[in-house]
Subunit: 285 residues, 4 copies
């Protein structure tokens, strides 16, 4: 009988802080025979906000009840509740250009179930990756952009392929700036990998800048894309040590290793519902 | 009136996992008008155990009630509950030998309130640190040990200075092996800094061994002291990159920087009631 | 005319230390109109040895003369001189089993010219990677091994494919122990990636052991293969932070990211003639 | 006899690249019976420059000859040669304010011979550190600065204490901006520790900015002081991982651990003549 089946659910919650939220959620979950398998929360006195991630298992028949009762109880202004079912894999599109290190890595990770999502398509401004993407059983769309003038037509084509069809867009060295209109229209989050340690080295030449400035560490930053370039909430960052011996080509090469890992960790955190956005910041549970 | 005073409390809990523990604790806390300021938990399917750290604020008048009701509700076999009051600073003794890098660092951290404890005494097998320790306003005891034969008398002297007088013993490069009898008699936890990346390089010559083996990273490990040498639960570890250019003296020097920081982080975590011991492992919330 | 062509050469040198070696080598190179583009050396008082790596450019017509004169001048006991021509790419074979994370990574790096070698074949105990390897234009050999008894026949087959045909063997999670006889017969270096931070966690279950021991960092180690298991000279190591939240499956997953990068760095260093072996240690210039 | 005494010398060299520099230097050193104990060099095709650090031992009687012959041979435009005698310890002044973590660390390192220099004085805008500095046997000068208007008089006082009396000024959280005039007048290098990962987070509030931006790593940067604020050549940098759980006070606390180590490494590299300045960059051998 379905009612005996145990299912898993996750709740991601963000709201103004007040006493008793944990008690309300955990109490209602206990009422519905749920077992909390993981719970992490964060209260910030400085802005008076509270966020929580709860993973729980419960009898399939009571999953909807638990959700409805929590929603009813925590209803109110400025409260965000996101329930999700880990068995329903989010649909992901990867956008890229001719550089393939992040793409290759993501293809491997989706194929190896390291990333709990369904890679539904790869859209590239270059035609080079068709074979590799096809070999992974993923749809490949080649949408070239010759100049800035073509971006608006390009965005139209992207929207056609994405709207309502994917739950997450990953910019894996896509190297184009998407417009505010596009970001609104696509109506799902987009994660970008920036090849620099933000907020240093914004823009398109971070490795050259890093070399000229003689920094001793270079980094990569995965962040949600917002209308303001390289200013979106940071999900993950990492660095690697370099020296004067490294030319800007060397920085580019070692940077690729960091970019891949940082992007993969960010996508993984997002797909596991670990990320809460608070204005300019991202909390990662 | 006292009842209007808000106080802070912490609960560290370890028990067999079962549904509803979070609900019970958070519900009782809500009943007692408490506000949870931080909650972290861990359930491990592999061993069926559960652990949780909760920090909360509540009216002073209800602190004892909250504690008693939680204790009553969660009473049972194999359950550990540790309530603590952050305002009551644990008493700490530091044991060391002639090397003073960890000692100097700990003196600075206690003086700067980075470590929330009360450093009540320093006991050293060397007389060299008397001035520095006195300058920090801390009692200094010089207990020399000429040979292994004297260890048992030495341990007697230590026990006299420690039993009932301190809540934590920190071995800051103390360089002596304490007996099982001593560890039982002292009846408070002891944290040791090992100058190697455990479980590699146990024993007294880790840097020489690391050099001979040509490792590319050296590390330090802070762990609870148990009767089995260098086998106690690991609280914190870190590493630093080295190369063939580094002699074993160089390893010793860069190792000191890691030892200091690793020991300080471990002591801090312990003093903030963040560490739960599960057999050979330490969970750090 | 050929004599006007500028070519690049590298010299890797290891010998007993004595005054004047740098002067001899750089003097003879200057005599032959060479320009030193990179020079790194290491003298170790403790064992009285000296090692040096020099990269230089010179007129093609004088490359042989420079080499011969250096060889004549530095002739003697216990001196190793290795001249190489970066334009001649070393031939590499990758051995693996069913796990493909290192293989996928190496395929990408050879294809992207991050690794300056020629990947001539992949030999796997599993048949799964045929398509991916073929897509990269590399020969694939499936040599299954059902049991330990078959290892000696397996090694025969390997030798047939490798002896005289490759300059480096890379064990990319090959998961079998090669015999001393094999290592001698293959007569080229072999680099292995060990999924643990050597010398801790030798053997086949490092992640399980790491989890049981509750370490706070896990690592990977790339080393030359010698007859003694996991005891060969270490070329590269790295670690990643973990916590009690990570199951041994999680350790395995995050470990894969470290394994890949550590193996690639070691292979790259070897292919660029940066590694000198001194008994149990490897110097990496 | 003096001539039989072996002494150590170092040469730091920066010049336009041309073939044969290593041969000239090592040849002249060999002529003077010197043994090169360490040699590191860097040639940069992009800017056509060359730099080298050589450490050597030779008979005391020939030290001056070696230096003179190298100077004569390498004489020319745009060539910098810096010979030094490791036995002559550079004189160091530390400038600080009320924060004492870097000061405490430097006092310990000079006292422990980790830093090969002579700490001749500590100058502080606060009077708090007098006892600690005196205990280390170092002169303490309290030079308060109430406002920006007083900076010019303050700089006068500083110059009186420093000019001709020290070889290096270390700004150990000195928290004041020194004028271009001062930097010229003091005529010795000054190293500053910036509590942020430059070039991100310039200025005086890096931890607050890091918190607001939600970065996942914070860092510290040691650099030579130039007239342009936080723009001097970077000698050393490092980072530490943080999360949303860390308030800006927490960032400040963990930042202190990075600041200390980064500053100490930079000062050590400078005192060992390992740093060459090329415009906006510092090479560290």
């Amino acid at each position: 009988m379905e009612s005996l089946l145990t299912v898993e659910r996750r709740l991601l919650l963000s709201c103004p802080d007040r006493p008793g939220i944990v008690a309300v959620v955990s109490g209602l979950l206990a009422d519905c025979a749920a077992n909390i398998t993981s719970l992490d929360e964060h209260a910030e006195p400085a802005n008076g906000r509270f966020a929580m991630r709860v993973a729980y298992t419960l009898p399939s028949a009571r999953a909807q009840e638990a959700q409805s009762r929590i929603e009813a109880q925590l209803d109110g202004e400025d409260i965000e509740l996101r329930f999700s079912d880990p068995a329903t894999l989010p649909r992901v599109a990867v956008l890229c250009s001719s550089e393939n290190h992040c793409l290759t890595d993501l293809l491997w990770r989706f194929a190896s179930d390291e990333l709990r999502g369904r890679l539904v398509c790869v859209i590239s401004t270059s035609d080079e990756h068709r074979t590799a993407v096809a070999a992974a059983g993923v749809h490949y769309h080649h949408l070239p952009v010759a100049s800035r003038d073509e971006m608006s037509a390009h965005e139209e084509q992207l929207l056609e392929l994405l709207v309502g069809k994917v739950d997450l867009v990953v910019l894996a060295r896509y190297m184009r700036i998407l417009s505010e209109q596009f970001l609104e229209a696509v109506s799902c989050p987009a994660i970008n990998i920036h090849h620099g340690f933000l907020p240093a080295f914004k823009g398109g030449r971070p490795y050259e800048q890093a070399h000229e400035r003689g920094v001793k560490l270079i980094g990569a930053t995965a962040h949600y894309v917002t209308a303001e370039l390289d200013e979106g909430p940071i999900i993950e960052q990492d660095v690697v040590r370099v020296s004067h011996r490294d030319s800007s080509d060397d920085l580019r090469r070692v940077g690729r290793d960091v970019e891949r890992v940082v992007l993969a960790r960010a996508v993984r955190a997002h797909l596991e519902d670990r990320v809460v956005r608070w204005d300019k910041r991202a909390l990662v549970f």
